[in-house]
C-alpha cells in the first residue's frame, strides 16, 4: 500500500480481501437491480403491443397507473426504472471530472426531487400526466394463441402482484406460476419480486431516519458537553431501557391506517440510541484534536466545524451500525408482517411467509423465508467485513 492512500482506499482494500463480503455486496446490488427492474420481469401489461390502433407500449403507461401501483414505494422505483438510462449517461459523462460521491449524490437529490414532484396526483392545478389512465386495460397474455392474436411482447412473467384470481387459489409451483399462487390466487413470484422493493426501502429508510437522529443528537452531546450532554445522555439511557420490540409492536398495531411508512418511522424513532452513543464517543475523542482546534482558531462557525470538519472523521463506525441496522430493520418489518400488524396492501415477504404457515404450503414458506435470509445475510456479511476493515487493530 502506498503512503498516499486515503482512509477510504485503505478500508476498501481491506474490505475487498473479504471474499464473502464482496459476494454479499454483489448480492445487494443484484437485489437492488431486481427491485428497480421488477416491472420488466413481471407485469400483466405488455412491453410492446400491436393491435388495431397500431404499435403501443402499454407497460410504460402502466408504470404510473395508480390502479396497478398504488404505493409510493412503487412509484419511486418505477420512476427510477424510467430515468435510469438517463442517470447512467449523466454518470458516465460526469464521473472522471467530478467526484463519484458528488455525482451520485446529485443524482439522488434530483431523483428525490423528481419523485416528490411527480408522486402526487395533481401538480398544482394540473392533473399529473404520469398518473396515466385510471383503468387497467386487460391484455391477453400469451398462451391463448389464436391465429389473429395481436403481436405482443410481455415481460418475463405476465402477472402483476395485485391481480387476484379465485380460480387459481393456492396452486403449487408450475411453469405458469414459478413460485405457485397464494390464497387469493396472486402470483407469488411477482409478489416476491415486488417484495424486494419493500424490504430494501424499509431497511434503508428506517436506518436513514435513525442515523440522522442519532448523528445530530450524538454530535450535539459530544461536542457541547455540559448540560446538553447530560440531557441527551439521560434520554439515551431512558431509550435503551424501552422494551423496544414490544413498543414497536404496540405502535404498529395501534396506528389506524397502517402503511409501510409508519413502520419505517416507528423503527426509526426507536432505534437511534446506538448511533447516538457511537457518535458522541467519537466527538468526545475528536473535538480537541489539532484539526478541530485549528478549525476553531480559524473562527469557523460551530455548525461548520461540527458537520464539515469533525463529522466526516467520526462517521466511519456508524457505517457498520447502519449496515447491521438495515438487516435488523428488514427482520423487524418481516416479523411485524408475520404477526399481521404490517401494511396489508404491500407484498411483504413476512406476510407471504405467514400465509404459508396458515395454509401449510411449503412453496409459500420457502420462497419468502429464503429471500429474507438471503437479504439479511448479505447485509450482515457486508457489515461484518466493514467492521473488520475499519478496525485498526486488524490492519497490516
Amino acid at each position: 500500500m502506498t503512503e498516499a492512500a486515503g482512509y477510504g482506499a485503505v478500508v476498501w482494500s481491506q474490505f475487498r480481501r473479504n471474499r464473502p463480503a464482496v459476494f454479499g455486496l454483489w448480492c445487494i446490488g443484484a437485489l437492488a437491480l431486481l427491485a428497480v427492474y421488477a416491472p420488466l420481469l413481471s407485469l400483466d401489461q405488455p412491453l410492446l403491443w400491436r393491435g388495431a390502433e397500431g404499435l403501443e407500449f402499454p407497460l410504460f403507461r402502466a408504470l404510473f397507473n395508480r390502479l396497478l401501483f398504488e404505493n409510493a414505494v412503487d412509484v419511486f422505483f418505477n420512476l427510477l426504472l424510467v430515468l435510469s438510462p438517463i442517470y447512467a449517461v449523466v454518470y458516465r459523462a460526469a464521473w472522471p471530472r467530478v467526484g463519484r460521491l458528488r455525482v451520485l449524490g446529485a443524482l439522488a437529490l434530483f431523483h428525490f426531487a423528481a419523485f416528490a414532484a411527480l408522486a402526487p396526483e395533481r401538480i398544482g392545478p394540473f392533473a399529473n400526466p404520469l398518473h396515466g389512465s385510471a383503468r387497467i386495460v386487460d391484455f391477453e397474455a400469451p398462451g391463448a394463441e389464436a391465429a389473429d392474436a395481436p403481436f405482443a411482447i410481455f415481460p418475463l412473467r405476465p402477472y402483476s402482484y395485485r391481480e387476484t384470481d379465485p380460480a387459481r387459489s393456492v396452486r403449487p409451483p408450475s411453469s405458469e406460476h414459478w413460485f405457485g399462487t397464494d390464497k387469493e390466487g396472486r402470483d407469488v413470484f411477482a409478489r416476491m419480486l415486488y417484495g424486494t422493493r419493500i424490504s430494501l426501502t424499509i431497511g434503508v429508510v428506517a436506518v436513514a431516519i435513525y442515523v440522522t437522529i442519532g448523528v445530530v443528537l450524538g454530535a450535539l452531546a459530544g461536542y457541547f458537553g455540559g448540560w446538553v450532554d447530560s440531557a441527551i445522555s439521560r434520554l439515551i439511557e431512558v431509550m435503551i431501557c424501552f422494551p423496544t420490540f414490544f413498543l414497536i409492536l404496540t405502535l404498529a398495531a395501534l396506528v389506524q391506517e397502517r402503511s409501510i411508512f409508519h413502520v419505517m418511522v416507528i423503527i426509526g424513532v426507536t432505534g437511534w440510541t446506538g448511533v447516538a452513543r457511537l457518535i458522541r464517543a467519537e466527538f468526545l475523542k475528536h473535538k480537541n484534536l489539532e484539526y478541530a482546534q485549528a478549525a476553531r482558531a480559524l473562527g469557523l462557525r460551530r455548525r461548520r466545524i461540527i458537520f464539515r470538519h469533525i463529522l466526516p472523521n467520526a462517521i466511519a463506525p456508524v457505517l457498520v451500525t447502519a449496515t447491521f441496522g438495515i438487516a435488523s430493520a428488514i427482520l423487524i418489518e418481516s416479523s411485524l408482517s408475520f404477526l399481521g400488524v404490517g401494511d396489508i396492501t404491500v407484498p411483504s415477504w413476512g406476510a407471504i411467509l405467514n400465509s404459508g404457515r396458515l395454509e401449510g404450503k411449503l412453496w409459500l414458506i420457502v420462497a419468502p423465508g429464503a429471500a429474507i435470509f438471503f437479504m439479511v445475510s448479505a447485509f450482515n456479511l457486508v457489515g461484518e467485513a466493514l467492521r473488520d476493515a475499519l478496525d485498526p487493530k486488524l490492519r497490516v
Partner: protein
C-alpha cells in the same frame, strides 16, 4: 459498591416513571377505543341500545377512560362548550349519528364538572321554550350529578369511609329522584327544573375551585394519575377483557416465558462456550473458519422462518408421516394431568424442544464469537506463557488457566441477553402457541387491553433495567480493575 448500587436503583425510579409515561401516552393517545372489541365493531357500538350504553359508561368510569389522559382542564369548562355538546346530542343542530354519539360520550365524560353549565343550559332552554334541548340537558344533568363512591371495592371499609359513602349514596338517591319522563305534563317538568335549580343553589360551593383545587384537578384527576395511584399500591389493574387482575395473569404467564428463555439461554451458553474454545484453540484453521461461517449463517436465519419450516416438517401435522416427531405447539399434552411427574417433565420437554431450538440458535454466533476473542486475549497474556513454560500440557494450560479468565467477557453479556430473549420469544410463542407473555402481549394488543399491555411493558422495562444493572455490576465482579465509587 453498595453506594453505587443504591445510586443506580435511585436513578431507576425517574427512568421508570418516564418510560411508563411514554408508554401510557402511546397507548392512550392511539386512535381506537378499548372495550370496542368486546362490544363488537365501532359501528355496532354506535347503534347500541340504552342498556349497553349504560354498561359501556360504567366500563369507562371503572377504567378511568372518562378522564383526560394527562391534564384535566375541566375545571375551566365553559357554558358554550357544554351547550354545543347538548345541542349536538339532542340533534337540534345538523350532525351525523357518529357526531351525536361522540357528543353524548363527551357530556358523560365531563362528569361532575359540567353540572353548573348543564343547570344553566336547562334553565335557559326552559325559559326559551326549547324543550328538546332542555330534556336532553336534564338527562345528562341527572347522570353527571351522581358522584362515584369512594373505594367501593375496599373489602374492609373503615367507619369513616362507610359514613362518607352512605352520605354519597343518599345524595345520589336524591339526584336520581329529580327526573321526569317525556310523557309527563309540562307542569311536572317545570317542577323538576325548579328542583334542579334549588339543588344547585344549595351546593354551589362544590364548583368554586381555589388555586389548589385547580392544581389538583389539573394533574391528579387524570388517567395517568389514576394509573399511578394504583401502581404505587402495586396494583396493575384488571384486564379489560378477562376482568381478572393483570398481575395474576402476568405471574402465571411469566413462568412459561421465563422457563422458555432461561432454558434457551443456558443451552446457548452450554453450546457456545465449547465452540468458542474450539475456534480459539484452532484459530484460523479451516474448521474455525467453517464454524464461524455456519454460525453466522444461523445468525442471519430468521427464527420465524426456521420455526415455520420445523413445524412444517416435524410436527404432527406434517405431510411426511415418518417425520411426525413433535407436537404442533402448546405447552403440554391434553392428558398431561394424568401422567406421572417424570412423564410430565418428558412431555413438556417434548413440547419445548422446537421452540427452544429456534430461540437458541440465533445467539450462538455472538456468544461463541465473544468467547473466542475473550480466550484469544487471554492466551496471549504472560501468565499463560508462564504456564506453558512450566511444561504443563496444552490441555491444562487452556482448560485450567486460560478458560476461566476467557469466560469473563461472555458472562457479562448475560444481563443484556435476558430481556432480548424475552422480546424475541414473542414470535416464537406466537408460532408455537405457548401461553406465555409474548403470546399474551400480541393478544392484548389485538384486543386493546390497555392494562395488560401496560403491565407487560412495564414488567419487561423492569427486566431491562435490572439486566443493565446486573451487566454493569458483573463487569466489576469479573474484573477487579473496574471499581464503582
Amino acid at each position: 459498591m453498595r453506594a453505587y448500587v443504591i445510586r443506580r436503583l435511585l436513578i431507576m425510579i425517574p427512568t421508570f416513571v418516564g418510560i411508563s409515561l411514554v408508554l401510557f401516552l402511546v397507548l392512550n393517545l392511539a386512535p381506537g377505543r378499548p372495550g370496542a372489541a368486546q362490544q363488537g365493531t365501532d359501528l355496532a357500538a354506535d347503534i347500541r341500545g340504552e342498556r349497553t350504553q349504560e354498561s359501556y359508561r360504567i366500563f369507562r368510569e371503572q377504567f378511568h377512560l372518562d378522564k383526560p389522559v394527562l391534564f384535566n382542564t375541566r375545571f375551566a369548562l365553559d357554558a358554550g362548550e357544554v351547550g354545543d355538546a347538548v345541542r349536538t346530542a339532542a340533534g337540534v343542530v345538523p350532525a351525523s349519528a357518529a357526531d351525536r354519539i361522540r357528543a353524548q360520550e363527551q357530556l358523560e365524560n365531563f362528569g361532575y364538572y359540567a353540572v353548573p353549565h348543564l343547570v344553566e343550559v336547562v334553565r335557559e332552554a326552559d325559559a326559551a321554550g326549547a324543550q328538546r334541548v332542555r330534556d336532553v340537558a336534564a338527562y345528562f344533568l341527572r347522570l353527571n350529578a351522581r358522584r362515584p363512591l369512594v373505594d367501593p371495592f375496599d373489602p374492609d371499609p373503615s367507619p369513616a369511609l362507610k359514613a362518607r359513602n352512605r352520605a354519597i349514596d343518599l345524595e345520589n338517591a336524591r339526584v336520581r329522584e329529580l327526573r321526569y319522563s317525556l310523557e309527563d305534563p309540562e307542569e311536572r317538568k317545570r317542577e323538576v327544573v325548579a328542583a334542579w335549580t334549588a339543588w344547585y343553589e344549595e351546593r354551589r360551593a362544590d364548583w368554586e375551585y381555589d388555586r389548589f383545587d385547580v392544581l389538583r384537578i389539573l394533574t391528579l384527576e387524570t388517567r395517568f394519575a389514576a394509573y399511578w395511584r394504583n401502581l404505587l399500591r402495586l396494583d396493575f389493574g384488571v384486564s379489560l377483557v378477562s376482568r381478572e387482575p393483570v398481575v395474576t395473569t402476568l405471574l402465571h404467564k411469566v413462568r412459561y416465558s421465563l422457563s422458555l428463555s432461561v432454558t434457551s439461554l443456558l443451552l446457548a451458553y452450554l453450546i457456545s462456550i465449547p465452540l468458542g474454545i474450539y475456534s480459539a484453540v484452532f484459530k484460523d484453521t479451516r474448521s474455525d473458519r467453517s464454524l464461524t461461517v455456519s454460525l453466522f449463517m444461523l445468525y442471519s436465519l430468521p427464527s420465524f422462518f426456521a420455526a415455520t419450516l420445523l413445524l412444517y416438517f416435524f410436527s404432527s401435522g406434517s405431510d411426511y408421516e415418518s417425520l411426525r416427531v413433535f407436537p404442533t405447539g402448546g405447552w403440554r399434552s391434553r392428558d398431561a394431568m394424568a401422567m406421572t411427574s417424570l412423564q410430565q417433565i418428558r412431555d413438556v420437554a417434548w413440547h419445548l424442544a422446537l421452540p427452544v431450538l429456534c430461540l437458541t440458535y440465533g445467539s450462538l454466533a455472538a456468544l461463541s464469537r465473544y468467547m473466542r476473542t475473550g480466550l484469544l486475549d487471554v492466551i496471549r497474556s504472560d501468565y499463560v506463557r508462564t504456564a506453558r513454560a512450566k511444561g504443563l500440557s496444552e490441555w491444562r494450560v487452556i482448560g485450567k488457566h486460560a478458560v476461566r479468565n476467557g469466560l469473563l467477557p461472555i458472562l457479562t453479556l448475560l444481563g443484556g441477553l435476558l430481556p432480548a430473549i424475552l422480546g424475541g420469544s414473542v414470535i416464537i410463542e406466537y408460532i408455537f402457541g405457548i401461553p406465555g407473555m409474548g403470546l399474551w402481549v400480541v393478544e392484548s394488543i389485538y384486543q386493546r387491553d390497555y392494562n395488560a399491555i401496560m403491565a407487560i411493558q412495564l414488567f419487561s422495562t423492569l427486566l431491562v433495567l435490572f439486566g443493565l444493572l446486573l451487566t454493569d455490576l458483573s463487569y466489576a465482579l469479573v474484573d477487579p480493575r473496574i471499581r464503582y465509587e
